[in-house]
Symmetry: C2
Subunit: 304 residues, 2 copies
C-alpha cells in the first residue's frame, strides 16, 4: 500500500506558544510532498524535521490569517536561494499572489523558478489538483474571512491479479491491465471468465481532510464523508464555546462531533489556543464524543 | 552607568541554518528596548529568550531583503492579539508600510494600537529618534537595494558632582544641576569657583553601530567613528571575496578592516552564510585584522 501520511509542523493557533509552532502540515502521498498552510517558521520546522522540502511542488493555503501563511514568503525565497528549478504551484485566496509579488518586488527579486498561482474560492467545492492516483479538492469553511478546507482523496486502486487463478485460466500477462481495470477475460474458445474469479478486491481508497479554521456548522461533515483521517481545529474547550463561536473557531467537542458525523476513521485535533498549556483536557473532551481522537503533535507523522 | 547592551536574536544570512536564525537584535538602553531588523522567526526568538517584547516601541529595518524583515508582520500581529495599547514606531524603507498594510487588509485586521511609519533614506545620515539620553541615526550602506545602518549614540552624560569639593566650597544643592551642566559656581562674595574643581569628568558617551548588509567601502568607517561596539556583517571569508563583492556583502576581514578604520572598541561579526558550519575560521580571519572581534552568538548579550 502506498505511503499516505500527514506530518504536523505546527499546532498553535494565532501566535506561537512555547514549543508550539504555527499551522503547517506535510502530506506525503507515495513520496510526493504537499504542504498545507505555512505559518511563520515553517521553513525552520521543515529543516529541523529533515523534510526534503525541495520536493514540495504544491502548497495549499487555507486562508489569509497570518498564522496560516506568514511563513510562505520565506519559503518561496529560500527555494529561490537554493536554486530551485521546478515550478511551484500555490493554491490560495486571490490576494495571496499580490502579497507575495509585492514582497518580491521590494527586494528586486526575480525568482529563478516559476510560481503558478491558483485562486481558491470559498463558495463551492473544487478540484485543485489531480493525477491518476490522487485528487485534492478545496471546500468551503465558515470563518471570519474566506477560508477553505482541503480533501486529499486517493483514487480507486486497480484490482489485484490473483496469480493462481490467472495461471489456472491461462490468462496471458498482456491481459493483466484489462483485468486490473475490472474487465472480464475472453478466452480463445469464446468463453468468458468473470473478472472476480481472476482478481482480488483492492484496498478501499483512503482520504484525508484538513479543516482549519472554522466555526462548527452541520454542513461540514457532508463534505468530508467517510474520510479515514480528519484534522480539525480545536482552538478552545467547551467552556469557551461562546468565545469560539464569536471568533468563528471550534471547540474540541465540536471537532469531535464533525468527526462522528462524517464517519471519520480517526480525528487529529490541533490549532490550540495559547491559553492551554496542558492539552490533555482538550483530548479528553474530544474523546468523550469521538474516542478515536489524537492530539496533533509537532514532528509526529500520522498514517491516513 | 546605564545599561547599554545588544542581544543577538539571529546570526544567519539569507536563510536559516540549523540553529542559526535570521537577522534581528535587541538594543537595551537603560531598560528601553529597540529592535533592529526582524527576520522570520524573530517573535519565537523573543519568546524563547524571555525578552519582554511588549516593551519594544521602536523597530528599525535596515532593508527589504526578506531575511531582515519577513518576521515583522508576525510580530505586529502578535502585538495586536496581545492587546497592545502603546504606539509602535517602525523605521524602514518606503515600501515597508505598503507591505504590512496589504497583509493586514487581507486578514481584515484593524490593529488595536497605532503603528507610526517613518521612512528611511539611503543617501544621507539622518536622526530617526532622540530623547535627552540617546540618539538613533540611520546612515547609508552599499547593498543591492536601499539599505541603511543604524547608530545608537548615547548623549554626553552630565558631569559628576564632587561632593567633597562642593562641601568645601559650600555649594548649595540647588546649584548642582548648574554644575552638572558644566557651569562655574559664583559665590556670594562674587568670586568664581571653576567647574572642574567641583565636578568630575563623566564617562564618555558610548555608541553602538549596526552595519548589515553592505559591500566594503571606505566611507563607512567615517560614519561610525569611535563607536564602542560595532556589529558588522561578515557573510563570507576572504577566499570568497569576489562572491562577496558581486553580492554586495562583506568578508570577515573586511568587517574587521571597518572596525580598525573606525577605531571601534569591539567588533561583533554575524550574518554568516549557511556554507559555514564552523564559524571559528571567520573569527580567526577577523582577529588577524582586528583582535577585539567576537562572534555574534544567538541568545548572548554584549555590553556596548
Amino acid at each position: 500500500m502506498r505511503d499516505f501520511s500527514v506530518t504536523i509542523l505546527g499546532s498553535s493557533a494565532a501566535l506561537p506558544y512555547k514549543n508550539r509552532n504555527l499551522t503547517s502540515q506535510i502530506v506525503n502521498y507515495a513520496g510526493r510532498l504537499f504542504l498545507i498552510d505555512c505559518g511563520e517558521g515553517t521553513q525552520m520546522q521543515l529543516m529541523k524535521l529533515k523534510v526534503k522540502f525541495m520536493r514540495i511542488h504544491h502548497i495549499f493555503i487555507s486562508h489569509l490569517h497570518g498564522d496560516h501563511f506568514y511563513g510562505l514568503i520565506g519559503l518561496v525565497s529560500t527555494f529561490h536561494l537554493l536554486g530551485r528549478k521546478e515550478d511551484l504551484h500555490i493554491y490560495g485566496p486571490p490576494m495571496l499572489e499580490q502579497i507575495l509579488t509585492l514582497q518580491l518586488e521590494a527586494s528586486l527579486t526575480i525568482l529563478v523558478y516559476k510560481v503558478v498561482y491558483h485562486q481558491t474560492n470559498d463558495f463551492s467545492a473544487e478540484i485543485l489538483f489531480e493525477d491518476e492516483k490522487i485528487s485534492i479538492a478545496s471546500f468551503p469553511m465558515s470563518h471570519r474571512i474566506p477560508t477553505t478546507g482541503f480533501l486529499f482523496a486517493e483514487k480507486q486502486h486497480p484490482r489485484h491479479i490473483n496469480l493462481e487463478a490467472t495461471e489456472k485460466y491461462k490468462v496471458p500477462y498482456i491481459s493483466f491491465n484489462d483485468l486490473k481495470a475490472g474487465n472480464d477475460f475472453l478466452k480463445d474458445d469464446g468463453t468468458v471468465v468473470k473478472n472476480n474469479l481472476l482478481t482480488i478486491e483492492p484496498e478501499p481508497p483512503r482520504s484525508f481532510a484538513f479543516c482549519s479554521d472554522t466555526v462548527y456548522h452541520n454542513e461540514l461533515a457532508g463534505r468530508i464523508q467517510g474520510c479515514n483521517l480528519l484534522y480539525h481545529e480545536a482552538t478552545f474547550m467547551s467552556d469557551m464555546a461562546e468565545v469560539a463561536k464569536a471568533k468563528m473557531h471550534s471547540t474540541s467537542a465540536e471537532a469531535a462531533t464533525v468527526a462522528r458525523q462524517s464517519g471519520a476513521g480517526k480525528l487529529l485535533i490541533g490549532h490550540f489556543s495559547a491559553r492551554y498549556d496542558n492539552l490533555l483536557p482538550l483530548l479528553e473532551e474530544a474523546r468523550s464524543v469521538f474516542p478515536e481522537t489524537y492530539l496533533a503533535e509537532e514532528g509526529k507523522t500520522y498514517q491516513v
